[in-house]
């Protein structure tokens, strides 16, 4: 099991890259959105909340199709990004990352929002009376205290990215070496006669990867809680 073929290593590396980039790039936006939902009241808040949760309830294929329409080379957003910045999502690994990011976004926002809501607002008030500006108080009090939730949210999004199938295959297709992540490769092998053993090997890799990610997140969460002098959970 230890010696993976160059093809398998390539698939593994691509999957990790897609999941990691999607989780890390969506994190700042997720924190901003989660904070707004947890602490502010503004008109249209429930609408924003519903839109963010949409990928959780829509068939992934629909999300992928919407991405294809919007971010395709001729799509309203895709064409602008291509012309002005030279950024192309269609049929690239970056497109796979975008699909993963959108599918994982509601999970990430939810976890972070819950942990921000759990931070005692009076601590933020106390920090304000000590001379901290809103931004400073957010960075020095709210964010560190919400860290366990931020870690959990990042992991959920990462894991969702590793497993993302429907939106990815619809948006960026199944191109070996470019957009063929683990689930897509497994699916491909099950479609070829005699590909079962390959599919099994890749499936085992996926299981190991998930366990490692879970263990890492658990370890980070415990560490951050200990740092806070908090031994709950």
């Amino acid at each position: 099991m230890v010696d993976l073929s160059p093809d398998e290593l390539g698939i593994l590396a691509l999957s990790l890259r897609v999941a990691l980039v999607s989780a890390l790039c969506s994190l700042p936006l997720a924190i901003v959105v989660a904070h707004a939902l947890a602490r502010l009241s503004f008109p249209g808040k429930s609408l924003v909340d519903a839109i963010i949760h949409l990928p959780l309830v829509l068939p992934p294929v629909v999300v992928g199709f919407a991405l294809l329409v919007l971010f395709g080379k001729r799509g309203p957003i895709g064409s602008v990004l291509d012309e002005w910045f030279g950024i192309v999502f269609a049929f690239r690994w970056t497109g796979a990352a975008l699909a993963s990011a959108i599918m994982g976004f509601p999970l990430m926002v939810r976890a972070i929002r819950l942990s921000i809501e759990a931070v005692d607002q009076r601590l933020e008030v106390a920090a304000r009376t000590l001379g901290g500006s809103r931004l400073r108080v957010f960075a020095s009090i709210t964010l560190p205290l919400a860290l366990p939730g931020i870690i959990t949210g990042t992991l959920l999004s990462f894991a969702r990215g590793l497993g993302e199938f429907g939106a990815t295959i619809t948006f960026v297709s199944n191109i070996p070496g470019e957009t063929q992540t683990l689930p897509l490769a497994i699916y491909t092998f099950t479609q070829v006669p005699g590909g079962e053993s390959q599919a099994l090997r890749l499936s085992i890799i996926a299981v190991v990867l998930s366990i490692v990610a879970l263990a890492t997140s658990e370890w980070l969460t415990r560490r951050s809680k200990r740092l806070h002098g908090d031994d709950r959970g």
């Binding site: 000590l130 020095s140 002098g229």
Partner: protein, 365 residues
């Protein structure tokens, strides 16, 4: 100098408070729900009044009419919360320095070493808030507020969550702050003992309104405020000085404007100021000077007011020289003795009726 004149609607509760006070420690006194915390929240900028203005010394913090409303981080008001609210993810030293880092170097008058020394925090610096006792947390919270270089310190019932020995300990520290740092303190409490020990000026709040404001001795002795200050707690405060000690009988004589009080020996040197609180129910009166009696404190007094209700007791306001004492006797006794305002009589004070918490260091009396 602190000037507060605010009107604010908080749910069904209406706050309409106006007072001006200039003293090292201003007591904000009232029962729970009287609006004390709402007042200091408005001073700190945590809530915004509907109308009015708030001014500390010459700095306008808030004025509804002109739209001045400094955000809390620019008011430089040190707030010590009832439950300390230390930042759980920082150790004690990081908590202490949180506010100091926000201030330019030129404004850092109070330095860390001094606060650590003043509040006895040296042993605690590396600890997390979770590992502190209630009293230690409160000391750190006070130090943290001081290091933010405040113009004024607001303390919201800082002793409420503490047991008696810890209360006494924090009271000592607050007195040190008053004596060694020139920062005015607004002290919120519902405890008569804390007010009479600490405050110089007191503002009495009830149901969102300011009932009285003024010198603590005058205000706490007023009979018409009993519904706010509490009937059980009714009494008066005497500003005294230690005159002499009697080592044979273990007694101390306290001198005040109007006479002398003999109390169980106090651990205080002659000349030292001692505030003595005498509860109304511990004072009785006699028309003639009693002889052959165990009570040692018999003071010539004149009745200045008789507060009669429908209950079994009557409160008498007595002038003894320049001091005021309140006596609570039964209504029947008052009727039988024919007591009226202007009458000369003798007040009998039990020596043990001095509130030990207020009478300095001796807490065993």
């Amino acid at each position: 100098m602190i000037e507060v004149d605010i009107r604010q609607q908080l749910g069904a509760f209406h706050l309409d408070v106006s007072f001006a006070a200039d003293a090292p420690i201003v007591g904000l006194f009232g029962r729970s729900g009287s609006g004390k915390t709402s007042v200091i929240n408005a001073i700190a900028g945590i809530t915004r009044p509907l109308e009015g203005s708030i001014r500390i010394n010459d700095l306008l913090l808030f004025n509804a009419a002109t739209g001045v409303d400094l955000p809390p981080d620019r008011r430089r008001v040190g707030y010590v919360f009832q439950d300390a609210l230390l930042f759980p993810h920082m150790d004690v030293e990081a908590n202490l320095l949180y506010g100091q880092r926000m201030r330019p170097l030129a404004e850092r008058v109070i330095d860390e070493a001094r606060v650590v020394e003043l509040l006895g925090l040296r042993e605690l610096l590396r600890r997390k808030p979770k590992a502190l006792s209630g009293g230690e947390k409160q000391r750190v919270a006070i130090g943290r507020a001081l290091l933010a270089q405040p113009r004024i310190l607001l303390m919201d019932e800082p002793l409420a969550a503490l047991d008696m020995p810890r209360k006494a300990e924090i009271l000592d520290y607050i007195e040190r702050l008053r004596d060694e740092l020139a920062i005015p303190i607004v002290y919120v409490t519902h405890s008569v003992a804390e007010i009479t020990r600490l405050a110089d000026t007191v503002v009495v709040l009830s149901e969102g309104k300011c009932l009285a404001a003024g010198d603590v001795d005058d205000v706490m002795g007023r009979l018409d405020l009993e519904s706010a200050t509490g009937r059980y707690e009714a009494g008066s405060v005497l500003d005294t000085r230690v005159a002499t000690h009697d080592s044979e009988f273990q007694l101390t004589t306290l001198a005040f404007d109007g006479g002398e009080l003999v109390v169980p020996r106090l651990d205080a040197s002659p000349g030292e100021r001692v505030r003595a609180r005498i509860r109304a129910r511990d004072v009785s009166v006699s028309l003639r000077k009693p002889t052959e009696i165990s009570i040692v404190n018999v003071l010539a007094a004149r009745v200045t007011a008789v507060q009669e209700g429908t209950g079994p007791t009557v409160d008498l306001q007595l002038a003894i020289g320049g001091a005021t004492l309140v006596a609570r006797i039964t209504r029947r006794s008052a009727r039988q003795l024919g007591i009226r305002a202007g009458q000369e009589l003798h007040a009998l004070v039990k020596a043990v009726s001095l509130d030990p918490l207020n009478a300095g260091a001796d807490r065993s009396a």
